[in-house]
Amino acid sequence: MDGEALTSLITRIDFALISSLHILFPPLTIGLAALLLVSEALWLKTGKESWYRLCRFFEKLFIVNFGAGVATGVTMEMAFGILYGRFSQAAGPFFGQVLGYETITAFMYEAGFIGLMIFGWGKISRGMHLFATFNVAVSSTLSAMWILVANSWMQTPTGVEYRNGIFYVTDWLAALFNPNAIAAFPHMMLASFELSLCFVIAVCAWFVLRRRHVALFLTPLKYALAVLVVVAAAQIWLGDVLGEQTLESKPAALAAMEGHYNTNHPDGSVDTDWQIIGWPNAKGDGLAWSISVPHLLSVIETKTWNGPVTGLNSFPADQQPPVVLPFYSFRVMAAAGGAILLLALWGVWLRMRGKFTVDLAPTHKIFLAACVGVVALPYLAVVAGWWTREIGRQPWIVYGLMRTEDGMSAMSLGLAIFWLVGFAFFEICVIAGTFWFLLKVVRLGPDLETPIAGEGHEHLGELHVPASGHAEQPEYLRPV
């Protein structure tokens, strides 16, 4: 491999790493903000203290995750300019405009309220606080919308004309509402809710399993499982819709995702096999071995028994994406989606049999352990889904118009390594720290003692030195 190819490979790994590490955090921000809003609203409506305690407890987890989202997100914004300078210049008129719009309508908007939501307890009125939480939920959704519009446009670049190295927008509406965005944004939103529900379920189940605050955590566990049934089912359906969209707009990506090399068998009949697993042969023009189900591919993609699906070999070699990664990451995502649905159904079935009482629930140890474990699945699915999408788009950075290698900045090998090592180090520290503190907050458990935050005026509390023991550690109360 010559120096340039190696540099380009490192740059790509670097970008893939930066974006994969960022996408771990936003989904929880988006989904949990909405769940916090629900519990805060329930508290105000019913006056039940338990909703307040839950809200404050999950909010602590929210903050830890949010900090990591910001740290890795700022990296994303700079990474485009630094690693993909040429792409940024060419696509700037559309892509940059959309991201710029995001910073103003989503990040600015979010930043105006997040401080109030987290630190405003006891300083602003309850109504105002609810309003702040509401705005955090809305603004993080807006953020996801803009990002998905921008990224989907890279998959289906409608409404533009590529001339003299610049993408000119000829039709703003067509570019904004590009065909891929219409399915991908809802799929991402549902992924965020699914992930956050699984997160809440795992935390609640852990407490129930440990018999700590069982009464407090059983209610959200029950509700979250019920909602998850609907969300998980809808997600599988939307994933299927997105797959059909991919077939239509990026047929090569779909073929790679399915490991589908030939439209027809050598004898001329349509190849309708859906591969469960397989591995490409050394030449890269077919599968060396596979386990497959006949007709399933046609049924999934064309909704007919024998409908033809374009195979990878119909595309010139220099326009074919890699196969192994999209193929397996797609299967990981779909399997995760199925497993989550099964767990949710299990929970609802237990509930219908009346097992969700304070006495009975903690005895269902296997179910609860499964609930704790399930939190890994949506994270896997989110990362795998993005890999399917981004690697399936290769070798294009803007599908069909601009190739990835034409979008890179001119970089020396040394610099590329500097970036990769530097970021890997920093981001892994961020992730390790986040994970550690999430666990720590959960271990400490909810705070059930501090008086409920009052309204409107700052109360700095009193300083009283405990009579005995650690006098050098004054206790200082301040509604936080």
Binding site: A71, I82, Y109, G115, A410, G433
Partner: protein, 349 residues
Amino acid sequence: MDVLTHTQQFLAIAWWLALGVSVLLYIALDGADLGAGIFSLFVKDHDEKGAIMGAMAGTWDANETWLIVAGGILFGTFPFVYGSAFSYLMIPLALVLWGIMSRAVALEFHHLASPKWQRFSEWVFGLASLAVTFFGGMSVGAALQGFELDKPAVGVPHYVGGAFNFMSAFSVWTGIAACIAMTLSGVLFVRARFEKAEPIRQDAARWTAAIFWLAIASVLVTVVWSAAIFDWARAKWFGSHFWIWGLFGIVALICIDQVRRDTLKDKDLAAILWFNAAALILGVGMLFTMFPWLVPNTWTIWAGASPQVSMITFTMTMGGFLPVMIMYNWYQIWVFRGRVSKLVAYAGH
């Protein structure tokens, strides 16, 4: 590349001003947080260090967002500049970025950490603040020097120089000057945010008295140095309108002097506002000195602008979102205006 229509030229200028406003707001708001971070490196008391972090807990994220907004405007409206300048400034920006990341994490995790790690996160916070300020200042200095572009027959010019071209005596100096200016802003912030009886306020006052002179000196050095090496600066400052620029300078000096007077009189908020006025005047002065260059001798405002700037998006942003956001930001700062004691380090701030 294409020529912009008249309306688009006008819009490009308006966006350029918006970019300047975001950067200046960032310097005014987050500058104080960064400076307080640098100051915290010299604070011995563990509780006081923690309290400095606690004092900005509710607002630092919003303050930092102005930098992201500036980045967003640059990418959205001046994509050609964004794509090439970031290649030129790759190394200092990477260092700024690592600083920002470490700082965000140190701030968010501080109150959850065990005492040993709290100390660690205090150091990370202080050093990261220093790194962001120094390398940020260095990037500005390097941008003032301009950079080389290739000249393709069709398409957009790209950066072609090496990765270390940003290094120069001048850019190192602007890094140092930024640290001095931000530390001044930081100690003013500490004075305004701590309860009057706290000893840290007295320390901060001593610092103000000393850094104040350093700040004046560094403004003068920067101006003289710029005049010496930049023909575009010389042409304006010593041209026929020299008195306008002189006036800018004198007003800025008066503002800086007011900072000291108000600090001595315990008028903390007034001192901050005077500081920001000085920064605003100097910043606007520099922007207009550069005009019509966005990056001197490299990109003019019009050449760097997207051929797609449109009236609709501009009006929506400027007429709708930005004013509302500034209003909420202001409300947020107002909610968190109360003074704190060093004991906030004990509360989960």
